[in-house]
Amino acid sequence: MHSDRENFESLRRLLALKKYEQPPPGYFDRFSQQVIARIRVEGVSQETGFLQWFASPFAWLQNAWDALENRPALAGVFGFAVCGILASGLYFSPATPLITSVVTVDNPLGVASMPVSYQATNGMSRTHSSSIFDAVREGSFGAQAQMVNWRR
């Protein structure tokens, strides 16, 4: 160890030169002020950064729109692709069973004929009623009918 110290004695003396390298006068008087000022600025930018983060999901949409606006061919391809996706979605979507019954109202007054559609509960097909009053009587609407005087 002692020989190591002797071997590097000249180097140690030369390295002493680095201790004399000093920044410009007054540099350290301003240093901490600059750090504190930058911390304040960073603090403010962090607060505004939240707003930017909040708006960021819409920023990519704006960018995409700008990109398409400048490239009509790309916009056409994009539109075609979107239409294709929608069409294939409609085509491949499973058909939902929709059972409807048409109830024809026998209008005793001859005012208007009203076909009434409703979906049968529990997927069960309902028997056709000849009159809406029959359906009401059976209680399939779950509603109460009131007699109306149409002549007034």
Partner: protein, 216 residues
Amino acid sequence: MIMTEPANRKPRDERGTSGASEIPDPPQPDEATLIERARGGDLESYDSLVRRYQERIYATVYHMTANHEDASDLAQEAFIKAFQALKSFKGGSSFYTWVYRIAVNKTINFLKQRKNRNHLSLDDLDLNAEHDPDLVALISEKTPRREINLSELQEKLNTAMLKLSEPHRLVVTLHDVQGLSHEDIGKIMGCNIGTVRSRLFYARQQLQAHLSDYLK
């Protein structure tokens, strides 16, 4: 040199003693108190912490980069990052070791990006360097190129330092320039004392080889 009295100092009393001198300066809060206050967002306390360690942190980064502007930016960024991460500082190590580690990591990352773009921007030498007995002896007696001046020697030394790898340059900087102990260097670099010693030995060997013309 004429010393002027600050305007806010109290006037001297009848006995000619300064009124201000009778009131002792308020005791400087200890480091733990300053850290606690800074954690709560007190920038004045953090300013005190920065002032304590700014010279050492700057010097370390400067000796690693050999560039004043880079060192200035990196040292400031290290203190800013330390402030932002102050809540995660558990106090397991001393504050200055912790800040050192932040500064060193930042510097090493920076140097990796800056590879092969070593532009020297050296600080001026203090006038006292000319009177340093070690340097005087080195130049006048042992250096074969006696015509070399201190500025040239400074440039050669910094160029040789930049030829070292970052861990080797760091260990020389912290030990031979800044005078830190092997133990502290191990804490800062995250390695054991044996590694610090071996790196130091290798780094010195390399430097000696690069600077052989000036060390015979």
